[in-house]
Each structure stands twice: as C-alpha cells, then as structure tokens.
Symmetry: C2
Subunit: 252 residues, 2 copies
C-alpha cells in the first residue's frame, strides 16, 4: 500500500533479557507511532553487544521506514549503543561542537564533575542530527532513518515527543473493540467468515478472564472508517446472536 509507513523498534539492554526489568518503551512507542499512522512491524530485544546492535540496525533499517532504538546511551561502560550505531553507519564518532559545551556547563553549574564518563554523552556520530532531551539534557540522535533514544522511559518519551514532528505520517489505523462474554471458540467460526468478508479490516481476538469470569475482546482495525464501522456492526450483531452480550470497548 502506497501510504503504509512502517517502523521497527530495537530495545537494547541486558536487563530486559535477564528478566530484571519489565520493558515499557515498546508499548509507548507502538501506541504513539500508531497515532501517527506508522505501523510497528517488528521489535527486537538484544543485549549490550556491539555485533548484535550493528547487525540489528543494519538489517532493519533497510527493511522499514523508521527504526527506533532505546537504551545504552548513558555514561557507563555498558552504554555502547552510540558507538555501535556509528559503526553500523560507518561514520566517525566525536564530541559534538554544540553538545559538548552545553553539557560541560550544565555539569559544572550543578556541582558535577564533567568527567570523561559524563562527557561521553556529548559524543554524537558524524552526520547525525540531535534529538533534544528535556529531562536530563544529554541528547539522543537521528542518523538517516534511525532514531536513537534513551532507555529510561521518561527520557525516551520526551525524546520521542520532540523527534516525532520529523516523521512522515501515514494513514492512521482506526480501531474499534467489542468485549463479550463468549469464549473464543464460540465466536471463532462466524468471526472468520466476517474476516473473509472484510479483508481490509484486521480482526483480532483476545481472550480475557477476570475473577473466574472469562470472555473475549474482538479488536477491529482498518484505515477505512466506513468499512470499519460496517464490519463492527456485523461483528457486534454476530456476537449478540451467539449470546455473548457484547459491549463497546473502543478506547479512543
């Protein structure tokens, strides 16, 4: 489709793969990108390992319109994302002439030593443009279609919000949801038939259970609001006719 704009997310950090940290950046980025009409097609979670980062960035950046990375741009020895992304693009990595003095003054004025570790955060790959960090100043950066964001969720979110105006917008995928008290197996066959009737409406089925009560949420997604509404009405009616007591659960 001409107006489909795609993205991939690369979450970088041993702490996610060890189970120590529950990632929240993916759902944030996916939700915001979706609002801009950009579809996240794939996400990868990789360790703080140069080869893994270079390989993932170079594979994915040719495949999708935009790549977002989170994590690994801080001052410690395990923060190797900046170096790895510079290597992926084969460009130099130097103190940025604008960032260096700003960070140096900031650290000194706030009583911190502007030591080598802190000043590593002023290193930006050649040819990259900066992404502002309104939380803790040290910037992220964009190089071609790759956006390199911090791992701390509050900072990642601020960086994304600042950088998002640079993104092309696609046709937003609209979504409507129906919550019902039927099991998936009850609605599956009729839902499949409706899916075949509406190939341009993506119909997803998600079971839920709460306090021993269970049911299914049906999520309909499409770029075409009139198709979406027609499909919604028919799915709603189908669920009702099967005794599933449907209710609207569209969130936005």
């Amino acid at each position: 489709m001409a107006d489909e704009i795609t993205a991939a997310v690369i979450l970088i950090g041993n702490e996610i793969l060890s189970g120590r940290t529950q990632d929240v950046n993916l759902s944030f980025l996916a939700g915001r990108l979706n609002e801009l009409g950009i579809q996240v097609k794939e996400a990868r979670i990789i360790s703080d390992n140069e080869i893994e980062i270079v390989d993932a960035v170079n594979f994915l950046r040719t495949r999708y319109d935009y790549i977002f990375t989170t994590g690994g741009i801080g001052p410690t020895h395990d923060d190797i994302t900046t170096d790895s992304v510079a290597k992926a693009f084969g460009v130099g990595l130097n103190y940025h002439p604008k960032v260096y003095p700003i960070l140096k003054s900031y650290f000194e004025e706030n009583g911190y030593d502007a030591n080598e570790a802190r000043m590593r955060m002023a290193r930006i790959p050649d040819t990259a443009t900066l992404i502002d960090n309104s939380v803790s100043l040290a910037p992220g950066f964009q190089i071609e279609n790759v956006f390199v964001l911090a791992g701390v969720p509050k900072i990642a979110q601020a960086m994304f919000d600042g950088a998002s105006k640079r993104l092309r917008r696609g046709a937003k995928i609209l979504s409507r949801s129906i919550r019902c008290h039927s099991g998936e197996g009850t609605v599956a066959e009729a839902l499949k038939a409706l899916q075949m009737t509406f190939p341009d409406v993506d119909m997803g089925s998600y079971p839920w259970s709460e306090n021993g009560v269970y049911g299914t949420t049906l999520v309909l997604r499409s770029k075409d609001s009139s198709l979406l509404n027609s499909a919604y009405d028919l799915v709603f009616e189908m669920v009702s006719s099967l005794g599933g007591t449907p209710s609207d659960e569209t969130s936005s």
Copy 2:
C-alpha cells in the same frame, strides 16, 4: 563457554506491536530460564504473519539451544502459530490422536460445541511432543528445540513450568545488586576500572529516580560466586568512597 546454554524468545501477536497489550511473558520466561542457567540472548516480537513466524523460527532455532514462542495457538483465524511452525519444520499438521478425543470430550461435557474452530487446537505438528496445559487443557507442543506456548500469561506460565523439566540446565548466573544515591556519571569511571579487573563479572548500571530523588543500581552477574563476591565488595567500597551511600539490593 562449554556450559553456556542459550535461548531466544519469540512473542507472536499484532496486539503487542500495536501497543494495545503490554507483554509480560518475556520477563517471566527470562527470569525462569535464568534460574535454570539458560541465558535468553535475544527476543523478537513479530506479527501474526506466516512468513515472519517461519523466518524467525528457522533463523533463531539454529542459533540458540532453545526457542520459546508465545501466542497464536488458540481457536480463531488469527491464531496461525501452529501452522507456521509446522511449515518452518516442513512437517505435516494433523489432529493429534490423543488430544482430539480429550478436547472433544472436554468441550462436550462442559456444554461447548466441539466445532471446527475449537478442534483446531487438537492439531499438532507431526513429530512434535505435547506440552500440558493445566489451565485450559488445549496443549502447546515441542518440536526439536522449539517450545510453542500460549499467549495468555497464566497459560504460558503453566506450560513453561510443565515443560521446563525437559530442559538441560546450565551454570546459573548469580546476581548481586547495589543501590546507591550517586548518579551514573559519578560512578562510571571507577566502575569501568572494576569491570576491567573482573572480566568474568558482568557489571550493569541502571539509573533510577523516585520522587525527585535519583541514583543508580549496579547489578553484578557472574557464574562464579567467589569472583562475584569479591567484585561486589570492591564495588560497594568504591560507591561508598564516592559518597553514594550504597545499600544491598540483591533480590534473591
């Protein structure tokens, strides 16, 4: 390392990539596998798309000792993991002679129609072995080194617990953590020096902030408890000498 046992996790589902659902299966699996001495090296989140599933399974299963997938094994049309994994291995997919009668009786005895959609869950790839589902009966399966689990967290967890006794165990990675009130930039240089002194202890640094107070948690990981303890003592002392008021935050 001879005793390193590795794994990758593949989370399958449009709902995670759209931002609708916050995944919790990865942190569960990563934590449990770590307890068994199996290191999760990579995770991928992909959509309900046959080509994507086949490619991810076939790429990763040659690269790691174990692969765990979650999602896409239910009764609805968007549940295509079973079909895709059968295709990845080039094996047939048929009603399983043990599973079929059990599921059929279960549905009939509980007042459900044993319709085609529900009975899809009795289809198991040839050569696969079953993984019990103590929650809702429909099983997962193992084929070679690939373990196919449900997406619903409670079911994924029950399946994993049942299947985990089949896994080879490696040397468990031990972990100790120090929480302190220094910023990462304060401890970074001394931490890097200690990391170089202890190449077999992986030292990670994770900033935190709570109610305007901020600091850093340093996580040390190693298979060798005496090395780990030596490194821990020196890192603790280093943080203390830099005024970071360290405290032990080792969780287990």
